[in-house]
């Protein structure tokens, strides 16, 4: 009986990098589980991670976030994963591999996904302490450990990887030099002019670029001190990162007698078989058609090819386009198709804007019909469309310069229509091999209605992510073609925009989320519409938000800011940053009593961290008894109005900025809005309150106040714009009332005032007409609505503290008063911080 059951095919994979992982993912997705048995050996201690986005590790992305799939994924898919285990030999005759632990295992098919290592040129002194390569998370950890001792770093290599490494050095706070042997940066992707533009951009960011430099020696007693170059010059540095290229990991293949190329790389045929038909090589270790592919997309295609062939299908690897787009240190760089097409067979159109740092070149076939390739520096917004135009041999429009300059009048197509002109076979996601037809069919058959759904269904956009904007364009254009209006609805539960819902709530006097969902929505709601409706109702009725606790985001549900480890922080209001010594002492006493970490915030207040959920009501009771009130640091609402010291003390001050800041902060305290609101008041033009970086900023003038609106700091800083000048105090407040209420009523959820203004047709001039000239005839309403909000304000913490039923809700477990046992702290600089 048992002899009739087919034995599963034993597949051994050496290497657990991105390509090795992708091979496993594709194989388990396509194979019947009983027909295969997969064993994977990875020499690194952790499972495969995203090496393409390695530099994100320096800006705070964790190793876990970079992981392709957790260890559990391998177990769930019956993959036998050996981490930290190095395969030391392959016996092709007996079809076995042996590891450094002495373990031997037999295979039917062997996949070499051994990848590459950094190429380290034979420079004198390269072994010194302080010389690193940029390849693995361990390399990065070693750099991070060494960097505090260093002030300057040099990167050897000005190619794609070298510039990534330079970004890492900048992120570590080091003065950074890039040393390139060739006469230009990224010589494989960019031409002279493109490289020159990139060089200027990088130099303006403080990175020194040295071209035509060949390093001859690294000097130093024990660690790195100085580099010597062939031209006799030298450079003092504390740290060196070598990123001069890659070297395929072919040592195992050589030892096993497999054929390799003269300059390394395991020779493979179109089926990616090595000189032994049972052994395949994929990714950066494979040499196909004289090429080593150091990009992830061709590696994934190789993985797919082998999987198809192992499962009895037929697919050959026919080489791969080396087009690439990336953001280097904030600068877009892209190169596609035949980037360097010679003038003999093509003509080029070049656009250069040195002021903005933009260089674009497209190469057009001699007959003017087709795009063959190009280079983009500084602005690669059109990359996807240009690449598609090359790959699909789309006939060029009459004025091909429009492709890089945009249409200047005339009848050129919009971006959306451009996407739709692609043929169905057009490859949109080259990492995951997804065509336009694959994507559009999931939309037309109703399976997917958003980008997240398309990513999940087709895997498009889950690799390097470069095609996501195009997927979005395809989605919108397809929906439009299907006659579906592309409308900004809140989520799948409401067919209305935030502004429409606000009107519905107001006109129908709806006071609860459940009523709104029942009468005007569908389903059970979600994490998008619940907080948005909570905000709308708070902005309309100003009732205690805890009446509907379970539609609030966690910060609003517990009236405190959640922090790592699940504890909360507490911020009492300190209007205008003014506080008496007595109140300061109370904060100190409360923080000491509950052992809270204290820190001054960016908004002139004091934040107390590390409070357990069950401690919050007790802490607030003490603060309220001392005369404090909620600071609403947890809400999408007014945070602080920052002030300088003003005319009472300052010899330059023109008016009392502190008094005005307190008045404004107290007027709008507790005001719920689409996003947080911050303000500032400065007593003179020196602007010590930094009011112009706030949602509203007021600056004293000889004659009154200048009002600035719609600024913010944060991820995308934007200066506030001057709205009106030399206002008296009451007019200033009247305009602020109207501005804030108009914003609250018309903005989309989680849009700050700057974003709201940027989207507004007519911009600041339109806003001025609405608020000053009452062009919409709504100013009376706005004034009345704001007056209502001001008059109905109540401190929500005071209501909780005085309400035993509400206090009861502040506990971690429902069936025991014990606190969360998983909370842990450790000491740091004399205070406690969470242990995660």
């Amino acid at each position: 009986m048992s002899s009739l059951v087919a034995q599963p095919q034993r597949i051994v994979v050496i290497g657990n990098g991105m390509v090795g992982y992708k091979f496993c993912e594709k194989l388990v997705a396509k194979a019947q589980p009983s027909t295969i048995q997969i064993t994977v050996f990875g020499e690194e201690p952790r499972p495969a991670y995203d090496r393409v986005h390695l530099s994100a590790y320096f800006s705070g992305t964790s190793a876990e976030e970079l992981t392709m799939a957790p260890v559990e994924w391998y177990a769930e898919n019956n993959i036998n994963l050996h981490l930290g285990e190095l395969v030391t030999s392959i016996d092709a005759a007996t079809q076995t591999v042996t590891t450094h632990k002495g373990e031997s295992i037999s295979y039917d098919k062997l996949i070499l996904a051994t990848g590459s290592s950094a190429f380290v040129p034979p420079i004198n002194g390269v072994e010194k302490e302080g010389v690193f390569v940029y390849r693995t998370i361990e390399d990065l950890d070693a750099m991070l450990e060494y960097a505090p001792k260093a002030r300057t770093a040099a990167v050897i290599g000005g190619g794609l990887l070298g510039l990534e490494a330079a970004k890492a050095a900048v992120d570590m706070g080091l003065t950074t030099h890039v040393i390139e042997f060739a006469s230009r940066l990224m010589p494989r992707q960019l031409d002279e002019a493109g490289s020159e533009m990139l060089k200027r951009k990088l130099e303006s960011l403080g990175i020194s670029i040295h071209l035509n430099k060949s390093t001859t020696a690294i000097i130093g007693e024990t660690g790195v001190e100085k580099m010597l170059f062939a031209d006799g010059s030298e450079l003092e540095v504390d740290m060196i990162i070598v990123s001069a290229g890659i070297k395929p990991r072919d040592e195992l293949a050589i030892k096993a007698g497999l054929a390799v190329g003269p300059r390394g790389g395991i020779l493979v045929n179109d089926a990616l078989q090595t000189s032994d038909a049972n052994i395949y090589a994929i990714g950066e270790s494979a040499l196909h058609g004289g090429m080593i592919y150091g990009l992830v997309a061709p590696g994934y295609d190789m993985a797919d090819t082998v999987v198809t062939n192992l499962l009895g299908g037929e697919k050959t690897f026919k080489g791969f386009d080396m087009s690439t787009k990336l953001k280097l240190i904030g600068v877009d760089v892209a190169s596609f198709g035949d980037a360097f097409a010679s003038p003999a067979t093509s003509r080029s159109i070049v656009f250069e804007d040195k002021a903005k740092g933009i260089y674009k070149r497209i190469n057009i076939s001699e007959d003017g019909k087709y795009l063959v390739g190009g280079i983009l520096v500084g602005d690669a917004g059109n990359y996807n469309m240009l690449l598609q135009t090359v790959q699909n041999k789309i006939i060029l429009p009459q004025d091909p310069e429009d492709l890089i300059l945009g249409s200047r009048g005339g009848a050129a197509e919009s971006a959306g229509a451009g996407v739709m002109s692609l043929p169905d076979e057009a490859l949109i996601c080259s990492c995951e091999n997804v065509s336009k037809g694959d994507i559009c069919s999931t939309i037309t058959d109703g399976t997917c209605t958003d980008v997240a759904g398309i990513k999940k269904c087709t895997k498009a956009g889950t690799g390097c992510g470069g095609c996501v904007p195009m997927v979005n364009d395809l989605l919108n254009a397809t929906l439009k073609q299907m006659g579906k209006e592309v409308k900004k609805v809140l989520c799948e539960h409401f067919d209305y925009s935030r502004q429409e819902l606000l009107d519905i709530v107001k006109v129908n006097n709806i006071r609860s989320y459940d009523e709104l969902l029942h009468n005007h929505g569908r389903g059970d709601g979600c994490e998008v519409c619940k907080p948005a409706v909570a905000s709308i109702m708070a902005s309309t009725w100003n009732e205690l938000i805890l009446k509907q606790a379970t539609i609030q985001d966690t910060n609003d549900r517990y009236l405190a800011n959640i922090q790592k480890g699940g504890t909360y922080s507490v911020v009492p209001r300190i209007a205008g940053g003014e506080i008496t010594p007595e109140k300061l002492i109370v904060i100190g006493q409360v923080a000491a009593k509950y052992s809270l970490y204290t820190k001054i915030t960016g908004g002139q207040r004091i934040d107390m961290f590390g409070a357990r959920i069950d401690q919050l009501p007790d802490i607030w009771e003490e603060l309220i008894n001392a005369g404090f009130e909620s600071g609403h640091a947890y809400g999408k609402s007014l945070r602080t109005v920052k002030s300088c010291v003003g005319s009472t003390w300052c010899r330059y001050g023109l008016h009392d900025s502190v008094g005005f800041a307190i008045r404004v902060e107290e007027r709008y305290r507790g005001l719920r809005s689409p996003h947080k609101l911050k303000g500032g008041v400065s007593g003179c033009v020196r602007e010590c309150a930094e009011a112009q970086s706030k949602d509203f900023g007021i600056i004293a003038t000889e004659k009154g106040w200048n009002l600035y609106i719609c600024g913010n700091g944060g991820a995308k800083p934007q200066h506030a714009q001057l709205f009106a000048t030399d206002l008296d105090t009451e007019t200033c407040i009247k305009y602020l009332d109207r501005f804030l209420m108009f914003y609250i009523k018309t903005a989309e959820p989680l849009n700050r005032t700057a974003t709201w203004l940027n989207k507004m047709e007519g911009g600041m001039e339109y806003l001025r007409q609405v608020i000053v000239e009452d062009s919409l005839g709504i100013c009376d309403d706005l004034d009345r609505e704001m007056e209502f909000m001001v008059n109905t304000y109540a401190c929500e913490w005071k209501e909780v503290v005085n309400n035993p039923e509400l206090r009861q809700r502040f506990q971690h477990f429902i069936n025991t008063p014990e606190p969360d046992p998983s909370i842990r702290f450790k000491p740091e600089r004399g205070q406690k911080v969470p242990v995660i």
Binding site: K456, E492, D524, G525, T554, G566, F813, I814, N815, P821
Partner: protein, 123 residues
């Protein structure tokens, strides 16, 4: 009366029903955390559907004990919870992450009897 219909083999795995707390102790249309021995279990009451679900309280993304404080709702009818930290969402039927990522949470059957919430536990 079983509130979340688990599959037959899930039911077979249940070794006993843990009596968590009175129904009235749980918020409607929201979550609460229950302690069982050393485990933390998040229990969710979908009042509109009259359905109950339970899952591990730990969000696997950043290992935070927090899911009970997440907002609940549905995605195309599938009941889900969103982690309050970074809005990763999980199906309460299957435990699968709904953002297309490889996270998974444990789910437990829930039943209501005589005004009490019971969670089906496996050894």
């Amino acid at each position: 009366m079983i509130q979340t219909p688990p599959s037959a083999d899930r039911l077979a795995e249940i070794s006993f029903w843990f009596k968590a707390a009175e129904v009235s102790a749980f918020p409607e249309n929201g979550g609460a955390c229950v302690k069982y021995q050393d485990q933390q279990i998040a229990v969710f009451h979908f009042a509109k559907r009259n359905e109950w679900y339970a899952s591990q309280n730990l969000c696997p993304h950043k290992q935070q004990m927090i899911l009970a404080r997440g907002l609940i709702g549905d995605q195309c009818g599938e009941p889900k919870v969103a982690c309050p930290f970074h809005k990763k969402t999980f199906s309460l039927l299957t435990g699968e992450n709904l953002n297309g990522e490889c996270y998974h949470i444990e789910t437990y059957p829930v039943k209501i009897e005589d005004g009490y919430v019971y969670i089906g536990m496996r050894e």
